[in-house]
């Protein structure tokens, strides 16, 4: 019996050893391995799973114009997120899909599909939801919580920001636009994305398996740092005028491929305005702005449609002002002439004889001038004012190939200007080897290509005493509180010509704008210096046997102390007029006439001009009639009385309106007398004197625009269409210019 019992005891001991060593031993080893050796790896995975890292979007900085007008800003919107993993059955999914689709205007089926992704905790239902819809979603979440207690976390609203461009297509090419995640995709938005974006904040919380926070104080919060704001050099008013005149020009001259205007402070390099038409609305960058383009796309199907759409979108986003290169044509004569003067290859007294054509190099066909009968003998200045191609071929020859190439470089045409915008293109010189014929045509701006921004910057250098400044668009960078973080200092890159040469050029160019081929760009009182250009377009034209042109005008003012330079550029005018002097010059003049006074450039009228200078009408209301008449006459106007009363009850033009000296101020003495109307006459094709006479007969005031002191100008447009009924005394602006063609292409 003892043996038996001790046998059991032995086996029990054996069993004990087995359980303790093999069993508990292996369990302990396994635990040791998991705790101590795998511990780090496992706990990291656990933490990954437990921590929820929520990004708090930083508010994107605002973009202001130089006067603090908001051009682009961000406002809070919300993103609706669905966490379908919480759903327990399809009836819940249907309920939520129905509710959300109703509020957000989505297809219920699509939402249900999202809700059916039963493993997911993050399905984006809709982005950029604005506050009214957000409120409804919040209400729905409450309702949902009452109905299904366990579904309180199924819908989540995340704060997000939406970019607003309050002026729609205003300066769109400069501003660019942002993508769905608020990232800059074009223009300033892209170039300064890192400044504008800010630093997104994070909220790290420990979440339980159901995605709600745990009862630990583990929340770590890093506040979002809002993005910096930008103050542009753009002046909203300047930009506005530029866009207005360009749009009108596109309509008037049936311009097919858009237009560009760049206004630059010649001393600092600040870009006061950069208008690119036709453009797009950065609020909706993916919508084709042009109805025609949209129609074209609508006709197509499948991949063809997609490709074409992408092509057209890329085209509408393209900033022609900095990306397109074109033959500068005669505008480039400014550069050639500057180089020639600087290098002393010719001087102001040199004469050039134009017979109507010129053989630049023995054995080649003669190259003609736009004036087929020839300009005859001309001085240096006259040659530029005539925009005479043979004269410039001679100048080019005198300058020589090496110097020509040197000045092409020093004026910055083969290197980008470095303006703070993405996608800047560069000019293209003749491909090697280039020869004397190339030199000849290059002298008058054919065969070499430049970008509009390069052209205006080069002309600005001439205006700025030969100092080539770097153009820029961002004046200041502000932090989120409005403190200045960075101020852009103007950069003079190099002196390309001497001040003396620059002064000489300004004199010639002023003369050119006053009475030469550039006179359509003249604005009375502002001493415009300018040069027109017409060039054949690079590449294929739209139709066979039809040449496409680029009409441009580049000038600056005032010539004696240049402050601003303006380039106007029309791509492919398809109307009867396509010369720079016909198309670009009047638009140039229109813009200059608005922005020069606005920018406070002091008008310096010649005596001749003074006759046509407008004066502001005073206030004559409530005056006794005889008193009022005396006041009108004292102001230099003529009084015209309507009605039989004794007191002035109304006046046309209104107080402060501009009318030329000697214009009529209509004084109404009885209320019903204001019903009197006059018919606007057709002023087209008249001389200044004829316009004056006609206006007087019709009791209409005329404001003169253009180089009216010249005898050779005729009116070509008026601000109020003929035959419209207007009150007597209404001011009609009449635009004068001439139809002389300036230059030609090969």
């Amino acid at each position: 019996m003892d043996k038996v019992l001790s046998g059991i005891s032995k086996r029990a001991t054996a069993l004990l050893i087995l359980i303790l060593f093999l069993g508990f031993g292996s369990a302990a080893c396994r635990l040791f391995y998991l705790h101590m050796i795998m511990g780090r790896e496992l706990s990291e995975k656990a933490v990954d799973q437990q921590l929820s890292d929520t990004t708090v979007s930083a508010k994107r900085g605002t973009i202001y114009d130089r006067n603090g007008n908001v051009l682009a800003s961000s406002a809070s919107v919300w993103k609706v997120i669905l966490a379908p993993a919480y759903f327990e059955n399809d009836s819940q999914r249907h309920y939520v899909a129905q509710g959300l689709s109703e509020i957000l205007g989505l297809d219920e089926k699509d939402v249900f599909e999202l809700a059916s992704k039963s493993e997911s905790y993050y399905q984006t239902v809709k982005r950029k939801v604005e506050s009214d819809e957000r409120d409804k979603v919040l209400e729905f979440i409450d309702k949902l919580g009452d109905k299904y207690e366990r579904l309180t976390n199924v819908i989540v609203l995340e704060e997000d920001f939406k970019r607003y461009y309050p002026y729609n297509d205003f300066a769109a090419s400069v501003l660019g636009f942002t993508g769905a995640d608020g990232q800059g995709l074009a223009g300033i938005e892209y170039e300064y994305d890192s400044y504008l974006t800010g630093v997104p904040g994070r909220i790290v919380t420990e979440n339980n398996g159901w995605g709600t926070t745990m009862p630990f104080e583990y929340q770590q919060k890093e506040d979002a740092q809002d993005g910096n704001s930008l103050v542009l050099t753009i002046d909203e008013t300047v930009q506005h005028f530029m866009e207005k005149y360009l749009k009108q020009g596109i309509v008037d001259y049936k311009v097919a491929e858009g237009a560009v205007a760049i206004c630059m402070d010649v001393k600092k390099g600040e870009i006061l305005g950069m208008a690119v038409e036709n453009t797009f609305d950065p609020n909706e960058p993916y919508v084709l702005a042009s109805d025609e383009a949209q129609k074209e796309v609508d006709k197509l199907t499948g991949t063809e449609k997609e490709e074409r759409l992408n092509e057209l979108l890329a085209k509408q986003w393209r900033n022609k002002a900095i990306s397109d290169s074109y033959y500068p044509g005669s505008v480039y004569k400014v550069i050639t002439a500057s180089a020639v003067l600087e290098e002393n290859a010719a001087n102001l007294n040199s004469t050039f004889y134009c017979s109507g054509s010129y053989v630049p190099y023995e054995g080649v066909e003669p190259i003609g001038c736009h004036n087929l009968s020839g300009h005859g003998s001309q001085t240096f200045g006259e040659a530029l004012c005539n925009s005479c191609n043979p004269a410039f071929m001679m100048m080019g020859k005198a300058l020589g190939m090496d110097k020509y190439w040197e000045y092409f470089q020093s004026f910055g045409f083969n290197s980008r200007t470095g303006i703070d915008l993405p996608g800047e293109g560069t000019g293209i010189f003749f491909s090697e080897p280039w020869g004397p014929v190339d030199l000849a045509i290059g002298s008058f701006g054919q065969g070499i290509s430049v970008t509009p921004i390069e052209m205006v910057t080069a002309v600005s250098a001439v205006a700025n005493g030969g100092n080539y400044v770097k153009p820029y668009l961002v004046k200041q960078i502000l932090d989120a509180n409005g403190n200045v973080v960075e101020t852009t200092e103007p950069v003079v890159k190099r002196q390309v010509i001497s001040e003396d040469t620059a002064l000489k050029m300004s004199e010639i160019l002023e003369k050119n704008a006053a009475e030469g081929t550039a006179k359509n760009g003249y604005v009375a009182g502002y001493r415009i210096a300018g040069k027109t250009g017409t060039s054949e377009k690079i590449g294929n034209s739209r139709k066979k046997n039809v040449k496409d042109y680029i009409a441009s005008y580049c000038g600056y003012a005032p010539a004696n102390d240049p402050q601003i330079a303006l380039l106007v550029y029309f791509d492919t005018p398809t109307g009867d007029a396509y010369y720079g002097s016909q198309v670009a010059a009047p638009v140039f003049a229109g813009i200059m006439s608005e922005i020069c006074p606005y920018l406070g450039i002091e008008a310096q009228y010649t005596d001749e001009e003074l006759k046509y200078v407008d004066t502001s009408a005073g206030t004559y209301l409530s005056m006794e009639l005889n008193e009022a008449v005396a006041a009108v006459e004292a102001d230099g106007f003529e009084a015209y009385i309507c009605g039989e009363g004794s007191t002035v009850v109304a006046q046309v033009p209104q107080s402060g309106a501009s009318i030329p000296r000697g214009g009529k101020v209509v004084l109404y003495t009885t209320e019903n007398s204001t019903r009197e109307t006059e018919t606007v006459p057709d002023f087209t094709g008249m001389t200044v004197a004829q316009v004056n006479e006609t206006a007087y007969d019709y009791n209409i005031n005329v404001s003169f625009s253009g180089a009216v002191e010249l005898d050779t100008v005729y009116s070509y447009a008026q601000s109020i269409n003929p035959n419209e009924q207007v009150a007597p005394g209404t001011v009609v602006t009449v635009y004068f210019g001439n139809n002389d063609v300036d230059d030609t292409v090969m």
Binding site: L16, L20, S26, S43
Partner: protein
């Protein structure tokens, strides 16, 4: 010495022993002796309860309750809006269990001698009843709901098996080497039990029962060769079941075994969710743990942390050190239990007590191996820690038996 041993043999043997120790004492068996002759001592030395064992047991039970509460309250709150949902019930189960344990500790274990075959029959009957109760959606049929708590049939079965083989072994000790007395009864009892568990299905139950029977037969002196034969047979059987596809449920539980951390398919990722989060919890504990109550994984990452995976939360909160202390306490409990029971004065007591303690040890080891992904996730609870009324009360009742054995075991007591 006697040639064969029967209940009567042992009784007379014990009487003679006692006679020697206590000359002139009553010849009745200990449990039949009038109580008046002995001072009543609840936690008495001498013939009282083994204090060390009892102390360890209560210590483990208290730690178990605390940890189960810590592990379960987030889930309880989430599921039942009541953080105390599980602990309230578990404390009641523990109190009932302790009462049962003390009650049982006064019942002379020799009463179970004759009850053993009936206990086995009763366990089988219970398992048949459980099988007849319909459940939803092909859920395993393991439970008999008694309103207050449910009885898991296999819990009863485990005790019945220990009783049955303790009885059998004590009677047929000499014949254990024969096929008729040694192998056949084991095969029959295991076969019936295994079949019923297979029908439930409850594969981990089969594994536990198999191990318990093996332990009992080993203790009872079954020649070792049979273990090797049986081991081979099990391998063959599993192989056959696996190849015929009858093991699909078990296989589905075993799918992903050992691969909890590797992403293969989405479905597999879901299947191994519990094991993976158990590993995350253990690994997060490190050496010293996150601190009591500081587990992250119990926040709805580790599903049902109150059940089989409660020890993963222990590991996370108390670290390797805490886990090792708990394991050591269990090891000492098992050691002390087996030490006591292997000194029992008769064969039945020794077989019964050692068997019961072996069961505790086996369950602890298997549970730890499951939560550490060394065994498939099959549903083996941790004694005194995992939530569950029938398990708690059965285990404490079993400890009552061990305590009763300790009363009479010839072991030095403080």
């Amino acid at each position: 010495m006697l040639q064969s041993y029967t209940y009567n043999d042992i009784e007379s043997f014990m009487k003679s022993k006692r006679k020697k120790e206590e000359p002139g004492e009553n010849r009745l068996p200990a449990h039949r002796r009038p109580r008046t002759k002995k001072k009543f001592k609840l936690l008495a030395v001498g013939e009282g309860l083994d204090l060390m064992f009892l102390g360890l047991l209560v210590l483990l039970l208290v730690i178990g309750l605390i940890m189960m509460f810590s592990a379960s309250y987030p889930y309880a709150y989430h599921r039942y809006d009541d953080s105390y949902y599980f602990i309230k019930k578990q404390v009641i189960f523990a109190l009932v269990g302790l009462a049962v344990m003390f009650g049982v500790s006064f019942v002379d274990y020799h009463y179970y001698h004759k009850a053993a075959p009936f206990a086995m029959a009763a366990a089988w009957l219970l398992m048949i009843i459980v099988l007849l109760i319909p459940t939803e959606d092909n859920a395993p049929k393991r439970w008999l709901n008694l309103g207050v708590f449910s009885i898991q049939a296999s819990e009863v079965c485990k005790l019945a098996l220990i009783l049955f083989f303790a009885n059998w072994g004590s009677i047929y000790y000499k014949k254990m080497h024969t096929i008729k007395y040694g192998v056949m009864p084991a095969l029959i009892v295991l076969g019936v039990t295994g079949l019923l568990l297979y029908l439930e299905p409850h594969y981990s139950g089969i594994v536990i029962c198999l191990l318990i029977v093996a332990v009992m037969l080993f203790l009872a002196g079954l020649p070792l060769k049979y273990f090797f034969i049986a081991g081979g047979a099990v391998v063959v059987l599993v192989f056959i079941l696996a190849t015929t596809g009858m093991l699909t449920y078990a296989m589905s539980r075993m799918d992903g075994w050992g691969q909890a951390l590797e992403y293969t398919t989405n479905e597999m990722w879901q299947t191994t969710w519990q094991t993976r989060n158990s590993l995350y919890a253990i690994g997060s504990g490190g050496m010293w743990g996150l601190g009591l109550g500081q587990s992250r994984q119990k926040y709805l990452y580790l599903p049902e942390p109150q059940n089989d995976f409660v020890f993963a939360i222990v590991c996370e909160e108390l670290g390797f050190v805490g886990a090792a202390i708990v394991l050591t306490l269990f090891a000492i409990l098992v050691f002390r239990g087996i030490q006591i029971c292997s000194k029992a004065k008769d064969m039945f007591g020794r077989l019964l007590g050692v068997g019961l303690m072996a069961q505790i040890g086996l369950q602890v080891v298997l549970n730890v191996l499951v939560i550490t992904d060394w065994l498939p996730n099959t549903g083996i609870s941790l004694p005194f820690f995992s939530y569950g009324g029938s398990s708690m009360i059965m285990l404490l009742a079993q400890m009552g038996i061990v305590l009763n054995i300790s009363r009479s075991a010839n072991i030095a007591k403080e």
